[in-house]
Assembly symmetry: D3
């Protein structure tokens, strides 16, 4: 009896979209205001989906306290109130678009989550723009 | 032309997580505050997804009044303002975790819904914790 | 590295559900208040999902400004503040149920979106009733 | 011990903004798309606030079932799935702007509500535009 | 320069509406399903409003960490995952209606909050029913 | 017939809380993570409330297109995708706390709004923390 379990979390961060191989003009043309050299920021909302069998002893797929703590350690403590470009090593050589952030978050959680579970992550950059990985 | 149609509903209920085969200590350790013997409660939000072909006569997959009434009869009238552990026979021998509740709701709706439709149910226990069946 | 990217939009419109091949009585019986000959209306909320590979140069699946403008041109400028039955040619011979509207929106966007992308559309007619295509 | 009690409700309606004393050009210039002669529509969300003393016997300011039924009878049954301009006598000679609708709703509820209560009404025409009466 | 500062919190609890001076019949007639002797429950959402002058040194009216901790200690740790009737002494002789709960919360916070601040509390029992004190 | 009219808008910005008259230690102690020298950011949500008489010709208190454009020019074009500390002159010598930002926004709108209207502004820094001016 497989069920999907979801847990939400959030973090606030600054970022800037920039490709160091491009000229300033090209960066401005492609990324527009998101290329502001002084950064801008977002309240990122995160939805983590874990798929697995219901444990007949507990009635849980996964203890949500465990999942909450995993998200806290792997994502929130690293990203919250940080500048993604400057403070977070994951984005040292990776443009912090929503697409790239969601893949990084999935990789961090996947590395620590029991392989018996499937995992999907959705990330809201704003209430109108969001991304999901894997598809 | 298959389309998914969603309808939301809600019910308010008390519950307690408890495994009668465990000691009080183990129940407390695994379920924490959710094991409170005097119960706690939630505003459960339900999203029912029905998948089927558009009827060319009506332009409907399913008449939402029919779906609304089915949810009302099979779920809300049985669960709303009830103590899931004490008042709802479905949980007489089943721990009312979100995972188990969503499977029970799916089984109740599946039994009454025309077999030509596919069915998926999502249940919010809180705005931050929710489950979905089938995956 | 395939990621799903979502963009929300909205439009306000009037409509009426009606099958011209039926008697007034049958229309009333099937569509109820939605058959009101003077129309009623909704704030439609639209969620467009585009699935594709992350471009390693930009870190984008698709530039959201491009997607936003496509939705604006193909959907909002045609549907917003319109009477779907009277003002929008797509519904001249098609009952504007949520199911039919979401398929029309998908067809309009699909025709203009690069074939390398997959596309799914969700349409909220009210916060409690919504549809999705394809399934 | 005075407390404010709120109850939400909703109705879906078509309307058109139009001043019959103006030319078509002036109506178009002032009301823009809202002047569409074929109407457009909204999911109106209503919040009714009743202020009064807590009854020491019940712990209620007002029984919410009573308030819910009053809103249903005075507002929803008259406005839901209607064309405000054509179907609702209150707007026969009154332009159905959000401002005018909220005052009409307040007057209808005020006439039936016990004078010992104070009353305020908020009406959402869209999630971004809303009005409140009295100030 | 007076500004209002708001902070949200939440707790999940079971309760039952009941007046011990009334017969079972009268309790049932007045409180309906809310009188269920086995309790039901809610996800209570709390909004605390503190009004005061901006401190020119910090730019804060009140440090939100201080306010967050005060709400946690005075409200959430006492009410969360509890049965309001059985586990919370404040409701030993007080019917836990939303109106009475919001006044109790206000009194608890008022007793610990610096008198230089004004205080107002809003409590959502469900997304459709909520109360506010003082008016 | 005075009515309150509300319009929502939003902007995304980076900021840092810092008092230049304090030591690094004191800044860290008071502002915590918000003092990060590399900035963090938010999706700011803005609600502007304008109070005035209903114009009997239009049925409007104020044309919402006019209000929308005023907010766009005075707030969004100056703050959106900016670093409040570095890019926005209003905060050159003013700590960009939510309290100070909401007062600055009020002052900007007040200077351009017809004096016959009353004005109040609410600013959400996150869905859980928000401020309002005047009280």
């Amino acid at each position: 009896m497989k069920v999907s379990v979801y847990r939400k979390a959030h973090f606030n961060a600054a970022h800037r979209l920039h490709n160091p191989n491009w000229s300033a003009e090209q960066n401005k043309r492609i990324f527009g205001l998101c290329n502001n050299p002084n950064y801008h920021g977002h309240n990122y909302e995160l939805e983590v989906k874990v798929i697995g069998e219901i444990d007949p002893e507990t009635g849980y797929v996964i203890d949500l306290k465990v999942l909450k703590n995993l998200i806290e350690e792997e994502v929130c403590q690293r990203f919250d109130h940080q500048n993604l470009n400057l403070d977070v090593p994951d984005f040292k050589n990776l443009n912090p678009t929503a697409e790239n952030i969601v893949v990084v978050i999935w990789q961090r959680l996947r590395a620590k989550l029991d392989p018996k579970f499937d995992l999907q992550v959705r990330l809201y950059e704003t209430p109108r723009n969001y991304v999901e990985y894997p598809v």
